[in-house]
């Protein structure tokens, strides 16, 4: 008769059939650490968040600036927040694609056989990606600064606006993660995500004032959560004020996470 004596089970040393919140957090942070190591190994995966913000900011300013606001300088306060939100939310799409590629690798089999929080491999990957968003936010504001955009709201307000964008991108990335889990291949994740992403970012007030849109489009742009984020960033950066838009942006983000995080984890576990 031998008894089971696993040397190392969990913090309390006894067998539990559930995972506590503290372990969920610890596992998620460890998984995020894995993501950072991967970025260190293959820094080229940061290309999109370094080149894209600079390129897009310059391009949009000089293409649309004259047409919309008369000159580029006057367009910047309208455009930089728009381009910021658009760029960061677009880069968040990479999350789903990378997750799909990652899940096809053998290491995910081991994650599934370990006594860890099921959500940790997903949540960790999404957490690592906030670093990518932070890079994109910084570079967009920096490019704007070089072009002559000096936000009237001040530095603190700009930081707050940046954090809001990062939080919203993180919440939207749960949608891409869901596609990443249910899709068969990385390219189909991209396809599915595009269908959602384009209307969401372009049918908004990101590049033009909403009242310049035809009425049916304006109706959509006004309820589009992306518009709220853009407006919130404009309020913060240009006037230093936290308006209703910021509240709606946060509420929208929380709702997305509340819907898609459980959906994603369920789909992930079913696939397992």
């Amino acid at each position: 008769m031998s008894t089971v004596t696993p040397a190392l089970l969990n913090n309390t040393g006894s067998l539990r059939n559930y995972v506590g919140p503290r372990q969920i957090l610890e596992n998620t942070l460890t998984m995020a650490w894995r993501g950072l190591l991967k970025i260190k190994r293959t820094p080229e995966q940061l290309i999109d968040v370094t080149v894209q913000p600079i390129l897009f900011t310059l391009m949009f300013a000089y293409i649309f600036g004259g047409a919309i606001s008369g000159n580029v300088q006057q367009y910047l306060p309208l455009m930089i927040p728009g381009i910021l939100v658009q760029t960061v939310i677009t880069t968040s799409m990479v999350t789903g694609v990378q997750l799909r590629e990652d899940m096809d690798k053998g290491v995910f089999d081991r994650f599934k056989s370990l006594p860890i929080a099921r959500i940790a491999p997903l949540a960790g990957a999404l957490l690592t990606d906030t670093l990518r968003y932070a890079i994109a936010v910084t570079l967009t504001f920096a490019t704007g600064w070089v072009m002559g955009y000096h936000p009237a709201g001040g530095f603190g307000a700009v930081v707050l606006a940046g954090l809001l964008v990062i939080f919203c991108a993180w919440s939207v990335s749960w949608i891409w993660a869901f596609f990443g889990v249910i899709a068969r291949s990385a390219s189909s994740v991209q396809g599915m995500s595009m269908i959602i992403l384009f209307p969401l970012t372009f049918l908004s007030n990101a590049f033009v004032p909403a009242d310049s849109l035809p009425s049916w489009l304006r109706a959509f742009a006004n309820v589009n959560p992306v518009s709220h984020v853009v407006t919130a960033v404009r309020d913060l950066a240009n006037t230093g004020q936290i308006g209703m838009a910021a509240l709606w942006a946060v509420v929208g983000a929380v709702v997305i996470v509340a819907i898609f995080a459980p959906l994603t984890v369920r789909a992930y576990m079913r696939k397992a």
Partner: protein
């Protein structure tokens, strides 16, 4: 909250496990009983359902029917507990290709709850044990198949789980590395672990496993100790080639008196083949042959192959491309 392990003699207990992939009954009613502290071999050809069976026992796949308990804990309803009791080394290495060997082991140690400097220490200790210290910092992309397997096994042992699943641990390894893997497995068992391993090689099951289940098309077709299994399909055959074909009748007579069995002849090659139940009697036979002045040109032992085991147990072969049994052997049985 379940505070202690339930006392049980059985590390694995499975009844009527079924897994369907579409219409394909990959596992079709498998029963298993594995005693704690033993090595259990699951033997079967490609597509028999070995990996699928392990996946269900290791909570990676949900069974479509049947039930399985690990140390008395249900794989479905107590999956999180089961995961605390097992280590899984899959058929294909499940380590992170983007990280170094050390980083992999540190990652899994952290996930298993080691804190502070403990993950680094554990990683170094395991790398040392598995002879990977030299390669600790190298990217996994440059690892050989054997190194990858060893790292994979090391990763499964971090938490010192009482039950270890090894899915084809030696497939694709060269003979020397294979021998090292066998030694490692023996060491694990000596340390009190229970091991369930799958293999396509009869001799591997023979060398390592206390009991063996032969599975085919998702069903257990035979179960027992490897000796029982082998005797159910015939024993190894002793093959002798004589220098002089004229000695054949005298040699057959000696085989009859010393080994107590009839031998088969293929006269044109001056070859004799006899079932060999007791290897130690072969010495007597050789002494007797020399005493009678019968010169032996060649002597060899032919083990029953997995193909023959299958042929005997299922009435069809493995479908693998191994050679058909030699005619001499057919007559020897």
């Amino acid at each position: 909250m379940v505070s202690t392990s339930r006392p049980t003699e059985l590390a694995i207990e499975a009844h009527g496990l079924v897994k369907l992939f579409g219409n394909n009954r990959a596992v079709d009613g498998v029963d298993l009983a594995v005693k704690t502290g033993t090595v259990y071999g699951v033997l079967g050809p490609n597509g028999a359902g070995k990996t699928t069976t392990i996946s269900m026992l290791a909570t990676l796949l949900r069974p479509d029917a049947g039930e399985a308990k690990i140390f008395g804990f249900d794989v479905r309803t107590e999956a999180q507990i089961v995961r605390q009791l097992i280590g899984v080394t899959g058929q294909y290495a499940s380590v992170d290709e983007n990280l170094s060997a050390t980083e992999n082991l540190v990652l899994f140690s952290k996930l298993l709850g080691l804190k502070g400097s403990a993950p680094k220490r554990k990683a170094a200790e395991l790398l040392e044990e598995f002879g990977l210290t030299e390669a600790a910092k190298r990217p996994l992309k440059n690892f050989s198949g054997g190194m990858r397997r060893r790292l994979d096994l090391a990763a499964s042992l971090i938490a010192q789980p009482p039950l270890i699943f090894l899915d084809e641990p030696t497939t694709g390894l060269d003979p020397r590395t294979r021998g090292q893997m066998w030694d490692t497995i023996r060491r694990l068992v000596a340390g009190g672990s229970t091991v369930l391993l799958t293999t396509q090689y009869l001799d591997e099951a023979d060398q390592l496993a206390d009991r063996v289940a032969v599975i085919d098309k998702g069903r257990v077709v035979a179960e027992g100790t490897s000796d029982e299994l082998k005797s159910s399909v015939g024993t190894a055959a002793l093959q002798l080639r004589l220098v002089n074909a004229a000695d054949i009748p005298a040699a057959r007579e000696l085989i009859r008196t010393t080994l107590g069995v009839e031998s088969a002849v293929s006269a044109e090659a001056a070859r004799l083949s006899a079932p060999m139940q007791h290897a130690e009697l072969v010495t007597d036979l050789l002494v007797a042959l020399r005493g009678d002045g019968i010169a032996v040109a060649e002597i060899s032992v032919q083990q029953p192959t997995l193909d023959e085991v299958f042929l005997a147990l299922t009435g069809h072969d493995t479908g693998a491309t191994t050679d058909a049994p030699t005619p001499e052997l057919e007559t020897a049985r």
